[in-house]
Every structure is written in C-alpha cells, then in structure tokens.
Amino acid sequence: MFAYAMRRLGLGATIILVAMMILFSMIYLIPGDPASVALGPRATPEMIAELRSRMGLDDPVLVQFWNFVSSAVQGNLGVEALSGRPVLTVVMEQLPFTLAMVLCSITWAVLLGIPLGCIAAVKRGGFVDRVIGVLSVAVIAVPSFVVAIYALLLFAVHLKWLPAIGAGESGNLKSQLMALILPSLAVGLGWIGYIARLVRASMLETLEAGHIRTARAFGLPERWIIYNYALRIAILPTVTLLGVGIGHMLSSSVFAEIVFARPGIGKLVYEAISTRNYPLVTGAVLVTTAFFVLVNVLADLVIGLLDPRVRASFN
C-alpha cells in the first residue's frame, strides 16, 4: 500500500511538472508580453524593458523555464505585482473559502445523488426511474453559472429567503452557512445528476452479480442487500468520478464566487485579471492544478481502502 501510494504520488508530481511546462509554453507562445500586460497601455518602452529584465524575460528560454520550475517547487510562486506579497500566501489565504464551498457542494451532491441513483436502479424502467433519468440529464446539461444567476434571482432577490452576496459575518457560523447554501446549490446541482446516473448504472451491474444472488438465497433483507452489499461496490466508480469532479467544481466555484461576491480563489483570479496582476493568475492556476492532481491521487487511495481487491493489487 505504501509503495503504491508513493508510486501514485510520483506520477502525480510528474503530471504537475508537465502542467508547469505547458503553462510556461503557453506564456511563452501566446502573443502578448507579460511585462507590457502588467504595466498597461500607458507604459513607456523603457519601463517595459526595465520590467522585462527584472522578470527575467530576456534570459534564454530554458533558463527561464528552469527558474520558473525550481522556484515553484520550493513554494516560491513569485510576488504579487501590487502589494509585493508572496503569491503563495495570497492564494493560500483564499483557498479555504473555495474549498469550503466545494466541500459543501460535494456533500449534498453525494447525499442526494446516491439515494436517487439507488432508487432509480431498484425501480428500473418504472416511472420514477425515467423521471430521475431525465432530471439527471437536465441538471448535468445546464451550466452552473446560469443556475447560480437564476438561483440568486429567485431565492435572494425575489423570495428574499437567503442572502444574495458575501460569505456571511465572520464568526457567525449560521450566517456563514446561510451564505453557503445558494452557491453550493449552483455548484453541486449538476453533480447530483452525474452521481445519480453513475450509481444507477453500477448498481444495476452489481445487482446482477452472483454474490447478490447468494445473499438473497440466504434470506438477507433486500434493503440490507442493496445498501450494505451492493452499494459498497456500486459506490467505487463514484469515488473516481468525484476525484475528477473536483476540477470541474473548482471551475464552477469561480462563477459562484463572482455571482455571489464571495471571497475565494475564483474571485481573486478574476480581479487579478482586471488589474493585470499576472503572477497571481499563474500562481493560482498552479495551486489549483496541484490540488486537483492530489485529490485524484487521494481518490485512488480511497478506492484502495474500500476495495480489498484493489488493495491486493497494490502489493
């Protein structure tokens, strides 16, 4: 298990490294000069040249790449253009807000998606199954930012049930939770559909298995069979899906943060664009990418914990 975890982490690190390479080549290849971007349209050529040499943009490409990677590995993502604070610190300050929202979205997507998938599988072909099926497809299809705007319009502006903007008063848990409801609804809604569909499909497959027949032949209650025997196996693909889903939810959370004016990585980067705070953008991209890769490694390890067969193949 340990060796497997190490190997998986190694692969994850390689992917992050290649991601840095791609990011670097994008910066290098896309027309547009980071220095002139940072200084804005009124910069004089002298100012740009001065900043270019300060940013190391006149060095050979490989040297630039090496500097970029080696300092990133040491946790040095550069300093923010405006305040001069380290980018990593600024990003890490905002990360918890985004993570809280993503976690909240996952929680209720899982809490609703899994039972709905089970119900659809058990009532396969029936009316309930068809309704769940169409609804799942529908919530997957609609982009989360449209859900966010409409949810804001309906629940905050019209009905005034929930706060429209902000993350709630600091220190007041209830108001913070109230402020979380709408954004996490917008981010998680589609995931209910994804999870319900996946659980339904793998549940149907599992219920066909011989060991389910054995459990029935021993007279175990059907509920017990579904929730303790079948779901245990049917849940495994969902764990993998959630690993991949974190990336999508990070994306959706950018929109949710902007629509609901919440603090977080998304809002940080969005504002960094308008102020052309360019190191902050690349820094945030790297941090979120690394986070995504790590979550996927974690998902694989969780699968190992849940499935003894996979665990055996680790060794």
Partner: protein
C-alpha cells in the same frame, strides 16, 4: 431499360432508409423528440436571425432603456434600450458559430494527436499521454482565465480555451482505438502490401474509429456553449457590443434587482440550447452506439 428502372428505386430506398429509420427512432423517444425540436428551433433562430429580429441588436436607444417585456419588445430592453429578443436571436449565431467551429477544430487536432500517439513510436506515445493528462489537470476556468490574461478577451481566446480543454479527451480515445486497430488483420495486410503510414491511417484506421468520437464530440457541444457563454458573462469572451447570451447575462446581472427580465432573457436560451443538444445527443448515442452508454 426496365431492369435499370427497377433497380434504381431500391437503391434509393436503401440509401435513405437508415437515416429515416434513425430519425423515426429518435422521434419515438420523448427526450429525443424534445431535444430535436429545441435544436431545430435554435438553428432556425441562428440562421434566420436577420428575418426574425425586428430590431438592430446593437442599436442603442436610450429613450427605451429598461423596458419590461411587452408586445413591442417581447423580452424587454436592456440598459442601453436594445431589444433583447433581437440580441438573443443574433446571440444564437455567435453561440453556434463558436461551439461548432471550436468543436470541429478540437476534433481535428484531437484526431491528429491521437493517431500520432497510437500509431507512432513508444516514446512519443508516453510523452503525449503525459501532456494529455497534464492538460486535463487544469481546472477549465483557471486555464481560461490564464489564456485571457495573456491574450486578452476575444472570440479567439474562447476558441483557444475550448481546444485546450477538449483535445486531450478526444486524443485519448482516438489513441486507444488506434492501438486496438493497429494489429487488426486488414491493417496488417495493408502494411505487408507496402502501404505508407499516412495511407494506412487515412484509409484503414480512421474510417473505422471516427463514428463514436463524432457522437461524443457532438455531446460536448452544449459544454462548449456553456464555456462561451460563461466567459462572455465574465466579460472575458465575446466583446460588446456583439450580442452573445453571456454578455446579455452580464448586462442584466448588474441590474438584477430592478430589471430581472434581462438575466432571464440571457439565461433562457442557454438553458434551452444546452438541454436540446444534450437530450438529442443522449438519444443519438442510445440509438447509434449503445456501447458508449454510461461514459
């Protein structure tokens, strides 16, 4: 003479039959019917926007600003007095243009890279796989924000984002199938008869693997529409005054408290389009290639 006459209709029937049968199958499913109807509606409004729109979508009329829906302006007007229905109709053009164009471009690049990885040497395959995985690790919107920061907000940036996001997925599927086809009998036979690599890929491999990937790509159209609208909503995609559903949402969002019809007008076409394409895509997949189910 008479022989020819009797052969012709049969041949015609044989050619048109599969398409018709598939259409009938799609229409029999409620989801397929609904999806197709929506897609036809959207396509029609994009193609005939000139005829359907009663106003110039970019014409500013300050005296008409913030008018709610009425008979003269069915969806109301925005903060500059522009007719929202006209903007929505022209917005369909932008949305479909970006979606279809960038999906086609991604598909082309994905196929080329996938064939290279699948048919090329080992080291190239390993390298490309790593690149695909790394590209898929960027959260979509973070990647988009980076590209826009560097290249500035424009339609080209949107296309670039879509390509970066979708190419790795297509390439991976093409790669897997190419590897499976590589050792197929007819490919081995062609190679032993001295066919060149390009010819083998073009004639013997590609036609056999292109079907499923086109279906999968068509199912990504709503996702791409979402990306365009999303970036335009953030002010990072299509530039005003070009009408786009995302920019309508952006205009409306600033005035959501007093003039909610603007965001409704911007969001509704996005919802209808993504639902339509998704429902149609799901049905298409079930009809043509049930193997892809549950992807």
């Amino acid at each position: 003479m008479s022989e020819q006459a009797s052969i012709k209709p049969a041949a015609l029937r044989a050619r048109s039959f599969p398409g018709l049968a598939a259409l009938r199958k799609i229409l029999r499913e409620p989801m397929g019917f609904f999806g197709l109807a929506l897609v036809v509606l959207i396509l029609a409004s994009a193609i005939f926007a000139d005829l359907l729109a009663m106003y110039d979508p970019t014409k500013i009329a300050p005296q008409n600003r913030f008018q709610g829906p009425s008979l003269t302006h069915l969806l109301g007007t925005d903060h500059l007095g522009r007719d929202l229905l006209s903007r929505v109709l022209y917005g369909a053009r932008i949305a479909l243009l970006v979606a279809l164009g960038s999906t086609a471009l991604s598909l082309m690049l994905g196929i080329v890279l996938g064939l290279m990885a699948g048919y090329g040497p080992r080291w190239l395959d390993a390298f490309l796989l790593l690149v695909f995985d790394a590209m898929k690790s960027f959260p979509t919107i973070m990647l988009a924000l980076t590209i826009v920061t560097l290249a500035g907000p424009s339609m080209v940036s949107v296309v670039m984002v879509v390509v970066m996001v979708s190419v790795p997925g297509y390439a991976r599927i093409i790669r897997t199938q190419t590897i499976a086809m590589k050792t197929a009998e007819h490919v081995t036979a062609a190679r032993s008869m001295g066919a060149g690599t390009i010819r083998i890929l073009r004639v013997h491999i590609l036609p056999n693997i292109i079907g499923p990937i086109v279906i999968l790509a068509s199912m990504d159209v709503p996702v791409v529409i979402g990306i365009e609208a999303g970036l335009s909503f953030l002010g990072l995609g299509v530039r005003p005054p070009t009408p786009s559903w995302g920019t309508i949402l952006n205009d409306g969002f600033a005035n959501i408290r007093d003039s909610s019809w603007i965001v409704i007008a911007g969001g509704l076409p996005i919802i209808l389009t993504t639902l339509g394409f998704t429902f149609l895509g799901e049905t298409l997949r079930d009809v043509f290639d049930p193997r892809l189910k549950g992807r």
